[in-house]
Structures are given as structure tokens and as C-alpha cells.
């Protein structure tokens, strides 16, 4: 790992996180940890069918049960408009969201909420839920993406016509949208190639698998004010969505961010929160709702299963001349798969003159997919990185070399249009090539795979406040839920900017009443965007501190500079004054104009694109088909690692989620469209004994638009593993499987077919 340049005192250190002690002693309050006096427990009734019309719902028996305080169905919820509304950076169709939260006319997937109850105990709530009688007319269903686009497939929404095509189709279908990006002429590119490879790939739906199930406590007062305490990736998102869905003014909803037990994109929407508010309104009491693990798997999160064709052509010496991709991604019950970013990222790591990508957003009878780390990118880049690997091996070129040769650099125009500024793709390839890992020989039945990944990273709205307390300690407020150590990064950047001791700064993630709108914690934006707000707020505080010193010294503010946590005269011309520390200025703040603070409310622009390159060694047991990951190295350009420990952690955690996606994880449905493996026993996420150490190598090519050069880290590391693992398996077995997961039966069948 690169050591930090010396000019920083705090940035780049491995400081202890401010919320750490609470988290290792069990004191930290997560979503389900709050109890309020008089609180009742809520429970959701879910559809047992993959696709069914709701004929009637009889709640009378449940309402009559002793201890039940409220029962709700979609009839209790305002009817939402179908028009998409810009909400943060996403377009939200609130009619779809409302239906996803509580089904109105049809249940579109097994596990969709159709009613909810609140009762004095969880047991009574459960009994009451069982007493609700829902009369369904079961309809034919479709799960698989390629089945769903067939002419005769059951249509989920009879008012849905494929968008993005002209003329508008006459017939409703499950294809919600088509996207296309092209540069140059892909066919001309293939004509110029010596070798063209075209392959079909499939990936299965997977779940984010956060260990903390969704949980919320909501308390609505008789005057219409609501307090919500919940675990989410954005309490401002929760406020906005609940406000829209329930027609409550935003100022009346206060959302407090609980500590969050993992999200990975899966907690960027609402499920229980609006229900808990409605139940609280009806009960006149605080309501707590938590999902069981089974509900998490059936009714929340998850990303697309996909099918795709990838075609690439190259000259004998390895120059890629043309590329084409056709992508089909499941959206789940409502439109909105990550096919857009999947299409944009597919070939983004490469400098290509002739490229075309077409993508289709396809609804089917699964839960509505929601963001999962670098949404869409792992899927499309898996296909592309597999074909690049095959090109390299067919042409006899080293897999890192072919990527270097064709890799994007500053000024390269990506297929989605934008020209890259300063980027560090080549640096990750060089660092990967230089590892001892890449040079170590392999044994029998072993193979090595290499793959790269790209993600945009995003900015967005963030706010920060720096309050300098009378004793010189500092309270730092912001509103991005801390999902993996971001409070530490914020305090490090503030300490560096202000020139004070990191331990003097107490960062807090405050509620929606106490700071301005923040876009969700996601897209690898917090260290970049909220970090930018923290630096700007710190600078505003510094300006105020300089002004106070200028007053005390009776000089112009221009005559005062801020260095090392002290106000100093800018030059000897200004006068001969003893530097004043932040603490000294804080002590006399009452005499110089009152409390000292700095604030910044921004919409951060200029997020830095990031790249990673991974190397994976596997051993395949030819008798059982079991794949063991022997060694793994993940290289990534972080721009600047504010807290290297948590940057490495993001890289390692993302890589392991990608390994799980590649090897074990998948949703398995029965013939009725019901999920068969809704638990951690059968949906197998990687466990400690499945894995080797994950060597994380941080490369730093600073992002010029961020004061410390941050790019964002969390998304990229989940992208390369899918292809890195499967390229390694191909090297070990001589078989290209072109489908995930590479579970033992798949491997055995592939090996047998080869023989």
C-alpha cells in the first residue's frame, strides 16, 4: 500500500473511528434497538403468489382480535400519481413505489406486502396477520428475463409500452425501456478485426445480504407530526418518500438515522417506514416493525438477473477494433433495472472507436430490484471482461497487457459520451502487474483470472456544520448515514483543514430537522460529496476565526492567515502578534461577536471516475466441481484514501460480495414463482472459511476536483470479481462457462461436456 505523502497530518492516517467504542460494546443503536413507552409491534401480510389479482381483503377477524391496535391495506393509503418525480438523482414513480409498499390491485411478486397489522406484542400481530383473509385470483407469472420478453409471456402491466423506441409500440409488453449508446460504427470495427468473439452470458438475481434486516420505529402525534427512527442509507430519502406517499408535509416528518447494519444500495428506498407511520396514525401509538430474514429475501432489495450478448473484435496484436453488447436486465415487478448504468459502464474501461450497446429494462414477477453496489456494472462488465480475457488467451497476449493496450486514459471518450479527465486505470494495471501474486506459478487444477472494473462515482447534495465550542472542541454535524466509518473520514478531513487534533472533533449524523437535504449514502459519494461540504464548512469557520483574530489585533482580516490551527499575522508588516490558537479564539468568542461556526450546503460536482483491477487464483476439484479461491488481490484507484483502513475494508468487502455472486449466490424459484431459498442456509453468502485474505492495494491518482483528491471507493470493488473468478475457473478447467454462479453442478456438467 502506498504511504501517504507527508504534507498531511491527519488525512491518510488510520484513526480510531468516533463511533467505534459504541459498536464494539453493543451500545450503538440500530434500527430495531429502540423501544418507546406504549410501543406496539407491526407485522406485514405478504402475497403467497407470484402474480395474482387481489379480489378482496377481509380484515374483520384480525381487527377483532384482542390486543390488535390497527390494520391497514392499500385502501388506507392515498392514491399516487403515475408521473415520475425527480427525487435526488433517481426518477421515482410514486405509483409504483406505493404499490411496492402495499399492493393495490395486483400482487406482482411473492412476498409483496398486501396488508399490515399492529398489536401489543409481536405474537399477537403475527396471529392477527394470519387472520387476514385475502382473496386472490392467481395469474400466470414469469420470472426469467428472456421468458419475460417473449411474445406470449404473461404481461405484468397492461398499460406499459416500451419507452425509448419510436414509434411507440401498440402492444403492452414487459419491456419497460430500451437504451442505446453508440460511438463510431461497430460493424466496421468487426470488419477490421482479425478475431471476433461473440458470447452469451447469464447471471442470476442476487441479494445485497446486509446482516441487519430492515427495521423502523414510527410515532405519529395527534397533531400530525411524525418521528421516525430507522436504518436506511438516507433519512432524507425516507422523509421525502414518506411525505410523497402519505401526503404529509416534510417539515412534519422528523427522521433520525439509526446506525445501519449494512445496505450496499438495498436501503436506498422505503418498505416498512410508510406502513409504520400509517399504523401509528391508526393505533395512536409508536409502532415498531422489523423484517424477518425471510421477508428480507422475498420482499426487499435484490438486483437483476440478466442475459446478454457480448461481441468484441481485435487485431492480431490485440488492438480492440469493435465492440457490441446487448443487455437484458430484470427490473422486478416495476420498471427501473440498472440497465442504463450497465450499458454505460460495459465498455467504459476501454478506448474504443467503434462501439454499440443496447439495453432493455424488463419487468418480471420478482421483487422490484434496488441498487446494489455499482448497480448494473458487475453484470455487463462481467460479460465484457470475460470476452476480453478470451481474446487475450486466443491471441496469446497477457491479460493485463491487452487491458493496458486498450485501456482508457485521460481524454479517452467513453461509449456513453463523456471524455475522461484524470483517471487511474493504467496505474491499477501497472500495480497489479507488479504484484508478487501475478508472478507466482500455479499448480495442477489451478487457474488465474484477471478482470477490471469501472464506476462513475457521484456527487450530489450534502451539508455540514462546524461549531466551535467554548473550550475549543468541535462539533461536526452532517446527514449522511455512516455505513462503514464515514464519521472518521469526515473528522479527519475537518482536522486536516482546521489544523486541529482529530480527537477534538466529534462528528454526528444528525436528524432531518437539524441539517439540510442529503442525497443517500450510496454511489460512493459520501467521502467525496459530504467530505467536500465538511471541508467547505471548515473553511468558512476558518474565515470567521481569522475575522475574530483581526478584531482582536485591530488589523484587516486580509492581514490574518490560518496555519496549523492558529491565526497568524500574514507578514511582519501586519504587526508583531503572538499566534492565537483555535481554542484561544473560542474562549473569547463572546467578546468578538458570539459563537463561531461554519456551514456549507452544497450540490457536489465533479466526482472522479474510478477503476480497479483484480487478480484471482482458484483451484477446481475435478471430482466435486468445488471451487476454492486460493489467493486474491484487488487493486483500486481511490484518488486519495482518507482513512486507508476503511478504504481497504470497502475493497475487501466488495470483492467478497463479488466472489459470492460468482460462486454461490442465486435466487432459486419453484414452478409457482416462489423463492425456494429465502434464508442464509440456502442462499449462501461467503463465510470466513470460504476465503483467503484479500490483498487490497490502494493506488492514488487524486481527483482534481476534490480538495484532498477523493474519488469514492465503495462501488468499484464488486465489479471485477465476477469475471476474475470465472476467468480463473476457465484457466483451471479449460472450460468457459459464461454463466453465474459457478456452483459445483455447473462446473461438473461443464467438465463432463468438455470430455
Amino acid at each position: 500500500m502506498n504511504e501517504q505523502p507527508k504534507q498531511f497530518k491527519w488525512v491518510g492516517t488510520r484513526a480510531i473511528r468516533p463511533d467505534g467504542v459504541d459498536k464494539v460494546t453493543g451500545r450503538a443503536m440500530y434500527g430495531a434497538d429502540l423501544s418507546l413507552p406504549g410501543m406496539v409491534e407491526g407485522k406485514v401480510v405478504r402475497s403467497p403468489h407470484a402474480h395474482a389479482r387481489i379480489i378482496s381483503i377481509d380484515t374483520s377477524k384480525a381487527e377483532a382480535l384482542n390486543g390488535v391496535t390497527a390494520v391497514i391495506t392499500a385502501a388506507d393509503m392515498p392514491v399516487a400519481d403515475s408521473k415520475p418525480v425527480a427525487s435526488g438523482e433517481a426518477m421515482i414513480n410514486f405509483k409504483d413505489l406505493a404499490n411496492n409498499v402495499l399492493a393495490r390491485e395486483k400482487a406482482l411478486y411473492e412476498g409483496q406486502a398486501v396488508a399490515a397489522v399492529a398489536a401489543k406484542t409481536a405474537d399477537i400481530a403475527e396471529q392477527a396477520a394470519a387472520l387476514i383473509v385475502v382473496n386472490y385470483e392467481v395469474l400466470p407469472h414469469v420470472i426469467d428475463v428472456m421468458e419475460a420478453i417473449k411474445e406470449d409471456a404473461p404481461v405484468l402491466h397492461d398499460d406499459m409500452f416500451t419507452g425509448g423506441v419510436k414509434p411507440k409500440p401498440e402492444k403492452a409488453s414487459n419491456v419497460a425501456n430500451r437504451v442505446e449508446f453508440a460511438l463510431g460504427d461497430a460493424d466496421a470495427g468487426f470488419a477490421a478485426a482479425d478475431l471476433v468473439i461473440e458470447r452469451q452470458f447469464t447471471t442470476e438475481p442476487v441479494h445485497q445480504g446486509y446482516i441487519e434486516p430492515h427495521a423502523v420505529v414510527a410515532d405519529m402525534n395527534p397533531d400530525g407530526k411524525v418521528d421516525v427512527f430507522c436504518s436506511s442509507q438516507g433519512h432524507f430519502m425516507v422523509r421525502a418518500f414518506c411525505s410523497q406517499l402519505l401526503h404529509i408535509e416534510m417539515s412534519k416528518i422528523k427522521v433520525t438515522a439509526a446506525e445501519i447494519g449494512g445496505g450496499f444500495g438495498g436501503k436506498t428506498t422505503v418498505y416498512l417506514e410508510p406502513l409504520a407511520i400509517m399504523l401509528s396514525r391508526k393505533s395512536g401509538r409508536p409502532v415498531r416493525m422489523t423484517m424477518s430474514r425471510e421477508e428480507v429475501f422475498r420482499g426487499s432489495g435484490a438486483t437483476s438477473g440478466a442475459a446478454m450478448t457480448i461481441k468484441m473484435g481485435a487485431t492480431k496484436d490485440g488492438k480492440i477494433t469493435g465492440a457490441y453488447a446487448e443487455l437484458y436486465l430484470q427490473a422486478g415487478a416495476f420498471p427501473g433495472s440498472p440497465v442504463g448504468p450497465a450499458a454505460m459502464t460495459a465498455f467504459a474501461p476501454y478506448d474504443l472507436a467503434n462501439v454499440k450497446v443496447v439495453g432493455f429494462d424488463v419487468v418480471s414477477n420478482r421483487q422490484k430490484v434496488v441498487a446494489y453496489r455499482a448497480p448494473g456494472a458487475p453484470i455487463s462488465e462481467y460479460g465484457v471482461e470475460s470476452v476480453v480475457d478470451e481474446l487475450a488467451s486466443e491471441l496469446g497476449i497477457d491479460p493485463i497487457e491487452i487491458r493496458s493496450m486498450n485501456g482508457a486514459k485521460e481524454g479517452t471518450q467513453a461509449a456513453y459520451g463523456v471524455k475522461f479527465g484524470t483517471i487511474g486505470f493504467q496505474e491499477t494495471l501497472d500495480a497489479a502487474k507488479a504484484t508478487e501474486h501475478f508472478k507466482t506459478p500455479l499448480g495442477p487444477n489451478q487457474g488465474r483470472g484477471v478482470a477490471s472494473g469501472f464506476w462513475f462515482n457521484i456527487g450530489g447534495e450534502s451539508c455540514a456544520g462546524i461549531r466551535i465550542n467554548e473550550d475549543g472542541s468541535i462539533s461536526l454535524t452532517e446527514g449522511s448515514p455512516d455505513i462503514g466509518g464515514s464519521r472518521a473520514s469526515m473528522a479527519l478531513m475537518a482536522a486536516e483543514t482546521l489544523g486541529v487534533d482529530y480527537n477534538k472533533i466529534k462528528p454526528s449524523v444528525v436528524d432531518t430537522d437539524a441539517t439540510g437535504y442529503h442525497f443517500v449514502t450510496g454511489g460512493s459519494r459520501v467521502t467525496f460529496a459530504t467530505g467536500m461540504a465538511v471541508v467547505e464548512a471548515s473553511k468558512a469557520a476558518i474565515d470567521e476565526l481569522r475575522a475574530r483574530a483581526a478584531q482582536i489585533w485591530d488589523v484587516d482580516v486580509e492581514g490574518v492567515v490560518w496555519e496549523d490551527g492558529h491565526a497568524k499575522p500574514a507578514s511582519t508588516n501586519v504587526g508583531d502578534f503572538e499566534p492565537m490558537s483555535l481554542a484561544e479564539l473560542a474562549k473569547v468568542a463572546n467578546k468578538t461577536g458570539g459563537p463561531i461556526s461554519g456551514h456549507a450546503d452544497i450540490n457536489a460536482k465533479g466526482a472522479g471516475p474510478a477503476f480497479g483491477t483484480h487478480i484471482c487464483d482458484v483451484e477446481v476439484d475435478p471430482d466435486t466441481g468445488h471451487v476454492t479461491v486460493l489467493r486474491y488481490t484487488a487493486v483500486q484507484d481511490a484518488g486519495r484514501a482518507i482513512h486507508p483502513g476503511y478504504v481497504e475494508g470497502q475493497i475487501q468487502g466488495g470483492a467478497v460480495q463479488g466472489i459470492g455472486w460468482a460462486l454461490n449466490e442465486e435466487y432459486i424459484y419453484d414452478e409457482n414463482g416462489c423463492l425456494e431459498n429465502a434464508g442464509f442456509l440456502d442462499y449462501r453468502v461467503p463465510v470466513a472459511s470460504d476465503l483467503p485474505m484479500i490483498d487490497a492495494i490502494i493506488v492514488e491518482v487524486p481527483n482534481p476536483t476534490h480538495p484532498f483528491g477523493v474519488r469514492g471507493v465503495g462501488e468499484v470493488p464488486i465489479i471485477p470479481p465476477l469475471a476474475a473468478v470465472s476467468n480463473a475457473v476457465a484457466a483451471a478447467t479449460g472450460v468457459r462457462f459464461n454463466r453465474l454462479p459457478l456452483s459445483p453442478p455447473t462446473i461438473l456438467a461443464g467438465i463432463a461436456a468438455k470430455k
Binding site: P84, E89, G340, V358, K605
Partner: protein, 82 residues
């Protein structure tokens, strides 16, 4: 005149497949207006549901940014993230 580059998909929908369109504008707001005037629906579509990249910087909510003949302007879908 500023040059705006559309994705081929967006172009098929709004401009008969022409991916590079020129409009008279000094800032993004004027650009949206001009696009809407020349290609009904396009300005509105970009403003409500797409991002604009100017000189390599992706802007999810562009409005007042200046644009000149030298600006490289691309229209692309909004990007979120996990």
C-alpha cells in the same frame, strides 16, 4: 452555437437519429429551451430525467452552468449508486 451530443438511443427518440445537434445558448437553461423548441419533448426530457456532462464533469442537476462553442456537452441518463 453550442454542440450537444445525444446518446444514439435518445437521438432515435427525439431527433430522427441525429446525435449531434447545434443550438443557440449561453447557459444550460437556454440550451434546454432551445432544444425543446427544435425537438419537442427533448429539452423537457433532459431537464427532468437525465444528466448533462460538460467538459467531462457529469452534472445531475445542471441549470445555470455556462456553455460556449468550445464546451463538450453530452446528455446521459442519471446515475445513482449503491
Amino acid at each position: 452555437m453550442v454542440k450537444v451530443t445525444l446518446s444514439s438511443g435518445t437521438a432515435q427518440q427525439f431527433t430522427n437519429g441525429v446525435t449531434e445537434v447545434n443550438v443557440e445558448a449561453k447557459n444550460v437553461r437556454q440550451m434546454f429551451k432551445a432544444l425543446e423548441a427544435n425537438f419537442p419533448g427533448l429539452g423537457e426530457e433532459i431537464q427532468t430525467s437525465m444528466s448533462v456532462a460538460i467538459d467531462g464533469v457529469i452534472l445531475p442537476d445542471p441549470f445555470l452552468e455556462e456553455v460556449t462553442e468550445a464546451s463538450e456537452i453530452f446528455v446521459l441518463p442519471k446515475i445513482g449508486g449503491g
